[in-house]
Amino acid sequence: MLAAKGLTRRFGGLVAVDDVSLELRRGQIHALIGTNGAGKSTLINLLAGELSPTSGAISLRGRAVLHGRPDRLARLGVGRTFQRSNVFSEFSAFENCRIAAQARIPRVWALHESAAQCRSSSGAAERALAAVGLTARRDVAAGLLSHGERRELEIAMCLATEPSVLLLDEPLAGMGAEESTRVLDLLRRLKLERAILLVEHDMDAVFAVADVITVMADGAVLASGAPEDVRNDPAVRESYLGDAI
């Protein structure tokens, strides 16, 4: 669904992403792993349209995405979460999701239609909150949620826009075991209809849920393929996994 070919991004002299190609397919969870500074976040930003590539191309459902802006990509169905929770602190968890859901509703100009009474966005918000398990906390201001809850809200907001491609930037960071399991189950359910990119450090989670793994180091792709192949790849073992497995 979402394919990147030869993506490169330079910041002055630093090459953050070096000729990276990858494909996200529907029905697959594609995990992206690598040490800090390997270029994972930059890659997500490139795919989400926050950054423009120095060279290379991105295509969505076969059509090229030129100079994708984040809002245009989001409207085309690419949803993302941020590494550091990027929510609307003054609004409640529910309101956060509702605003997210309202991004896809046409007829913005209908001033007589109250946002609070909009059933489609309220419904989408409720479903998103339920999917991550935050329904009990729906009326709490986002700024007052715990760190783990805020990570869940991040995912819920992304879900509320009903995306077909999900780009998840370390969604499990800071979550407890129970929350992590819940999120992983959610991802397994979600992938059936969607393509998911999962950037993570938690190796157990990655190997438990990923269909394809790409390993990055120093901005370039070190290895890519089925989990077992990657696990056994000598270059990967040497530079990254070491004795972790």
Partner: protein, 321 residues
Amino acid sequence: MSTARRILPWLSLLMLILLPALAGKFYIELVAKIMIMAVFAMSLDLLVGVTGLVSLGHAAFFGLASYVLVLAAPDQYTAVSLWTSLPLAVAASALLALVIGALALRTRGVYFIMVTLAFSQMVYFVFHDTKLGGGSDGTYLYAKPTAMLGGWSLLDFNNSTQFYYAMLGLLTLIFAFLRLLLASRFGHALRGIRSNEQRMRALGFNTYAYKLAAFTIAGAIAGAAGYFAAVQFGFVNPEMLSWHQSANVLLMVILGGAGNLFGAVVGAFTFVLLQDLFSSLTKHWLLLMGGFVILAVMLLPGGLTRVSDSWQAWRARMQGG
């Protein structure tokens, strides 16, 4: 919202309706002027308090409409019709806002503040340096617009009480319109933009378009206020477009409390009344005003309608050190 906050706007409306029966001409005209400024302040609140856009050039839209009214009249003694001149003035302000907004909104943060200031200065100089509208001296409007309907004069703007109620009607109309706007999806999106613009873009909102729309609407409403200010005053000059005017209206919004519209109204009342008070005390009243501005922003950053919030924040700071 607490009961007090719910009732206050209605109570104020009641008082405003009753005022002409209780007060003399001087106060009727003064409060009419304040209500015009309140509309001006509410339009800026849409930008500052709701969308998070700090514009230091809002007076450009206010003043342009005033000038359009004066320029629309073939000469100073011929009255124009309200039905043609008001839409013309508001459209002019809206168009200016669209153009300035399209350029200024390409910038963010401090750049945006400085750019809005600079553009409004440009408009100021157009009227100050050229002979358009009388240059730096300004022009008088001796004949107020007529509001005729089928041969009958609906409103006589020369009559202070009628003008007062027309302004009250305007204030109520704009207040209701903005409330509706804020409750809609569009309004919610604006608030989202203020809270976290990057997130809004990542979710799929074309934030530039939303901001531009808000900017244009705010400009149009400011134009309506400017139009009636010229009607009441009977005189326009470049000072109506000056950055002092822009700073004053910004102050009104902050003084009353940004983001809830009613604060803008409160701020307008407070500011104009204080201005009158200070200027009656001393020739150097700007010193008092300056000092007041500093104290008010330092001590009451949330504005008068959020005194309880400011009080709690102050206590927290005292305890937390």
